[in-house]
Structures are given as structure tokens and as C-alpha cells.
Symmetry: C2
Subunit: 393 residues, 2 copies
């Protein structure tokens, strides 16, 4: 692989605290050298090194590619009719997941892989270079393992979510299902997974069940993540912090003790306002978390039931409009914040040694991500040093 | 020009009441024949006529192209910093318009035309095939005339908005400015304009000034439009209905008499929720209007101050999330509703004789426009029978 020098950068978001220019470490008149799959150099255009190739980005803004740390991309079918009914007044319940479970089980590998790649291509087109992909629509030993096997073909950030919802065939024995998830299903899934996650919510799994699955996952060497506080206050955030989970996701309903626990832990609060947008619910209180010193990430929660968006720019615009985050806070949360939620320090940042994941916006400033909502503003994307083809297939 | 038959249409939105299938006149297993710049035939695939070319759209949804009936596209500069400050708590006032006026006056024709074409290309990429373009950032006789001359090069739906705000040089004599707008400026603008519009709002123009400009415009043969009720209740809606304006735009703050006046008139209420999204204001009450029998349109209000989006799909998603419109109502308002607001019956509809403005979504249903917020879902666009190049320039 050869080296590429990006010049003509109007505004470079580095997320590098060493830049000492605010939360985003913004540089002007900068150049960026990519060498192989890494960033080799960041500095003033005037003293930039020579490279094999040079690309003038014409005064545009350059950022680290987005890190989407929460997505459910292995499924078949859509739930457009359920969405339309909900918008007309039918409330959301976790039970809708079962519709997608039935469709996913019925689909062959090829179909699931094609859908996954289609969504991934959408993500690339909106500037995402790292995505976490969860299982959770298989809910049998074989279907969870194959979901993760397919996910592993496109990302290293794979999450076993056998504890997404109790499938209909286990409705009479939810404890038996938890035991299956924590033993046989976990063992089948673990070879393809980096993380284990539990939907800890009324209607899904309680604290005891979540603890059983998470501790079993940790014993298999998996990192921990928890869906917590989406539909109402619950034990998920406290459990995530107690067990040292990398992230507690949703955090829409929090009690004071949850905020304190997050602030005193290394657990990131990953907010998913796309879900609130598409379920008509109230939004998480990002300011309360930020003001308490909690590390906040933003992600799409892309899934066919409650947040069928792949667009991190849309999530940033929502965070600014609906959660009173500044544009800089939202952009940080969608890049470096996502990296923290995945316990990664090689992505979500542009400094020597980091992965060459680069987004060139068709705009002069990162501000345009919130200033121009709904507008496709991706000009170019490099992922691990390779420039991606962004054309519609 | 030759004929093209679109087949494989999973769902065809016609907006043709003759189809008798709900507000959108949806057909399944349909085919659509384009001949020259017109729709020549709509019917069952099984009995479709032969054409010079055939395009199988692979089960995707097909709609009339969006009609964006309210946009301010002739300007220079952006106001990203003002946006960021507003999101951090600084309230919006109409005075911000003057920033753009200064930049626009300073720009040469070529720069303004390039910006206009760039925004227009964005609109095409998100499925818009007709756009209304207002002047209003020139505010001198020469600058308003040239704004409309440039606008006329890209659309027949041009609107003279000399009464956008009183420019600084007229601050001491606002009545004198109104007189200029209603006489010399209007005469210079009229050859390039189809419509005249007034920003009737506290801080801009009162009822007397609005009436003076609108009646002068009508005497020159221009149709009428009014910016009304954006920042607070005011006389704009009543005036629009009294004078037979085609549209009263914004309608965020309405009194009961306004709703009754709209319901009893041929004046469309054009809602612009992108402005509320980007100013952090409350949204218009679309349900109140729809339930009262008012004809509602949706448009972007694309402008660099308060709604810098070109995306009608984003506006549809907002209308569903924030204004309790059904997806069908929102799609109708963004197509046929926009056409009504421009007093057109040849666009916003797909039936024999209508203009061949066709949007192919990369989705099986129009529902996906709201179900997948922020996602670029345009697969192909025909405008007056010509297939547009949607690649990023």
C-alpha cells in the first residue's frame, strides 16, 4: 500500500487532545498523511512530507470516520407497516422484535449477507468507517452463531445479543431460555463475538437474567455492553457500571443514582436518539450526563423496528436539536465517543499511528453536519487507508 | 425524445384521485409510460404498451418527483456559526437575513449561479423535480432583478421577495423602502418572476406594507404568496386568504380565525418544519389544519439562516415525527400539495398528460421516506422525461 497526502483541508477535526484546540482538536491549513492503513503524519500544509499520491480536498472539512457503536444489521424483512401504525398512535413494545426474528430465521445466509452489505454500503456513504454489529434476531443456537459469523465477515466489532427478547417458543420457560443463552448459545457464538449484550428492560430481561448472561460472557472472554433504560427506568445502568461494561446504551430513563454510577465508572453512555425519533418517545437528557462528567457516545441503533437509519450525520443533527449537545460535542460523541464505547484508541481520532479512517465532507466545516440536516454531505471516505467506492450499487 | 416504459414497480404513488385507492392513489404491479416530457400511460404491467426503452425498477417504489414550493436559493455565504450559536441558546431573529444580504450583494453572477446550481443538484439527488426559488437577499433594484434572472435560468417558479427584510441602508425610512419595492423594484423584477411574496412578521413587514406590495404585484400580473405566522401570530394568514394568495407559508402560530380563513379559501398552508428543526422552535400544528379541511403542503424553506436543508425526505420524516401527519399525508403534501401551492396540476401527480417527473426510491414503499430518516434513498429521477445524472460533481 502506498502513501497519500491530503491537502487543501479547510478544517481538520483530529479529536487529538494534544492539539489543545478544544474538544475536537481542530486544525486549520493542515495536511494529513496516510501510509498503508495508518495515519503517518498530521501537521501544517507548509511543512508536509512528500507522498506517493496527493489529493487536494478543496477547502473541505476532514474528520475521523464515524464510529457507529450500536447497530443491529443481521436481519431480514422490514417493519414499515408497524412504523406507520406506531406513528398513527400504536405504542412501541419490545415484542415487535419477534416479527424480525421470524423473518431472519427463514432467510438463507446469502440473503442475510446481502442485506448486511447493503446497509454497510449505506453507512459508508454517510461517512461511517467502523460499525458494531449485534446478533439478536436469530435466538436459536444455530441462528445466533450464523448471525455472528456473517457479521464477523464485515467487522471486528461483533456482539452476541442472544438475550434480545425471549423467543415465542420459550415463552413458557423464560428462565430456561436464559440458561440456554448463557451456556450452549454463548459457546456457539463466542468464537465470532467480541462482546456480549443484554436487553435489560421490562418485557425483555430482568437484572438477574442480565447478570447471568453478562457474567457468563465475561467468563468466555467477551467484553460487556447493556441495553438499559430505553422504555423506562430499570436496573441496567447500575448493572453495567458494576460489571465494568464498556457501554450502557439508550439511557433514556435514568435515576440520579444511574448518572452518578456512570460518572464514577469507565462505562460510556451511548445515546441513540434515532430510536426516540422513530418511536415518538422523549429524548435522553444528554446535558445532564455531560454536565455530570459522563462520557457520551452517539450511535444509530440501526434496526428495522425502532431506528431504521444508517446515518450518523442525522444522529448528530438530532443530538444538537433534541438533546442540547453542541455540534462539537455531538461530533466528538459520534467519532471518539463511539471509539471509547468500543474501548478502542486507534479509531475516532486522526493522529500518527491511528487507523487511516478519514471522512471528507462536502462542506467547509463540521458544523454543517448539524446545520444541514438530511443532506448527504459525504465527499470521500478512506477506510484503513483504502478509498471507498461510494456509488449506489 | 423517445418513450420509456418503467416496469417492475412495487408500489406506484400516482396522487390521482381517479385511482380510488386512498389519498396517494397507490397502484401495485403497475407500469408507467413516459413519452417525451409527459406521462403517456399508467396501468397494469400485464397490458402495458411497447416503448422505445424499458427500465425494470426491481420492485421499488415510484412516486411523482417532489415539488418544493418554498426555497431561497440565490445567495452567497453560509451562517454556520450563527446556527451553532443559536443551538447554544442565542434566539433567532429576522435580522440574521442581513448577513446573507451583504454576502449576496458582494458576489458576482457566476458565484451566485454556481451556488444555485449546486443546491439544485442536491435537490435532484433527493428526488425534487420542481422548486420555487425566491429572491430576497439582494434588496436593491439591481440585485433583486439579477437574483430573479439567475433563478429563472433554472426554474419557472420564481418569486420576487424584495419585501424580505428592510435593508440596513433603509433602516431610517422603512416606508420609503416599501414604496421602492412596490414600484421600481417590482417593475425591474417582474419580467423574471411568476410570484410576489412578503415576509409579514414582527421585525419585517406589517399588514399595510404587505398589502401594498402584494396588490402592486398582482397589478403586474404576479401570483401571491405570503410568509405568515413564523415567529408569532400576525396578520399574514388573514391577508393571504383575503387577497387570494396561492399559499400562506410557515403557519407556525395561528389563531382560530386563521384556520377558518384557510379552510374557507383556496390558499394552501405550506408548512416548513425544517425551519423549526433548525431554530429550535415549536412545530406547526398540521393536524389542526388537516382536521379543519385546510390543504397542506410541505417544503424545505431551504435558506442559509434557518433551514439549510434541500431534502424533502427529511421534511417528510419531520412532518410525521413532529406534526402527527401520516406518512401518506406527508408524501401527498410534498408532491401534490406543493403543486397546489404553486397552482399547478401538471406536476405532483402521475397520470396521462402530467409532466414526466418521476422518482424511483431505493425502497419498496413510500413509507420508507419516513421510516428511514436521514438515509439517501433516491435510486433514479426523471425530470420532464429526461433521466438526471445524480452523481456528486
Amino acid at each position: 500500500m502506498s502513501s497519500t497526502l491530503l491537502t487543501g483541508i479547510g478544517e481538520l477535526v483530529t479529536n487529538d487532545p494534544d492539539q489543545q484546540t478544544g474538544v475536537l482538536g481542530v486544525r486549520r491549513d493542515a495536511a494529513l498523511l496516510l501510509d498503508g492503513d495508518r495515519v503517518a503524519w498530521v501537521g501544517d500544509r507548509a511543512v508536509a512530507p512528500v507522498a506517493d499520491h496527493q489529493v487536494d480536498v478543496g477547502g473541505r472539512a476532514v474528520l475521523p470516520g464515524f464510529v457507529d457503536s450500536h447497530a443491529h444489521l443481521v436481519f431480514d424483512g422490514d417493519r414499515a407497516e408497524e412504523f406507520a401504525a406506531r406513528m398513527a398512535g400504536v405504542p412501541y413494545s419490545a415484542g415487535g422484535i419477534r416479527t424480525t426474528v421470524a423473518a431472519t430465521r427463514a432467510a438463507d445466509d446469502r440473503r442475510l449477507a446481502a442485506n448486511l452489505r447493503w446497509l454497510l454500503a449505506e453507512m459508508h456513504r454517510s461517512g461511517t468507517t467502523t460499525v458494531e454489529v449485534k446478533s439478536g434476531y436469530g435466538l436459536t443456537v444455530a441462528d445466533e452463531a450464523r448471525s455472528l459469523r456473517l457479521a464477523r465477515q464485515v467487522t471486528e466489532e461483533t456482539t452476541f445479543l442472544g438475550a434480545h427478547v425471549v423467543p415465542v417458543e420459550w415463552a413458557d420457560d423464560p428462565d430456561g431460555y436464559v440458561e440456554l443463552v448463557a451456556t450452549t448459545m454463548l459457546r456457539a457464538a463466542a468464537p465470532y463475538a467480541r462482546w456480549v449484550d443484554v436487553f435489560c428492560e421490562r418485557g425483555a430481561f430482568d437484572a438477574d437474567a442480565a447478570r447471568r448472561v453478562l457474567t457468563a460472557g465475561a467468563a468466555q472472554g467477551l467484553g460487556l455492553r447493556v441495553h438499559a433504560g430505553q422504555l423506562g427506568p430499570g436496573p441496567g445502568v447500575a448493572l453495567a457500571c458494576e460489571l465494568g461494561a464498556a457501554s450502557a446504551d439508550h439511557c433514556t430513563y435514568l435515576v440520579d443514582a444511574d448518572v452518578a454510577a456512570l460518572a464514577g465508572s469507565a462505562t460510556v453512555a451511548t445515546l441513540l436518539p434515532g430510536a426516540e425519533f422513530s418511536t415518538g418517545s422523549r429524548y435522553p437528557d444528554a446535558r445532564r450526563l455531560l454536565d455530570a462528567g459522563v462520557c457520551v457516545a452517539l450511535a444509530t441503533d440501526c434496526n428495522p423496528g425502532t431506528s431504521y437509519t444508517t446515518s450518523m450525520p442525522f444522529i448528530i443533527a438530532l443530538a444538537v436539536r433534541e438533546m442540547r449537545m453542541t455540534v462539537a460535542e455531538a461530533v466528538w460523541a459520534a467519532t471518539a465517543g463511539g471509539a471509547r464505547a468500543l474501548r478502542r484508541d486507534d479509531i475516532g481520532v486522526l493522529r500518527p499511528g491511528s487507523r487511516a479512517d478519514v471522512l471528507v465532507l462536502d462542506a467547509p466545516s463540521y458544523l454543517h453536519l448539524a446545520y444541514r440536516p438530511g443532506v448527504a454531505q459525504t465527499r470521500a471516505v478512506w477506510q484503513s487507508g483504502r478509498r471507498l467506492d461510494l456509488s449506489v450499487g
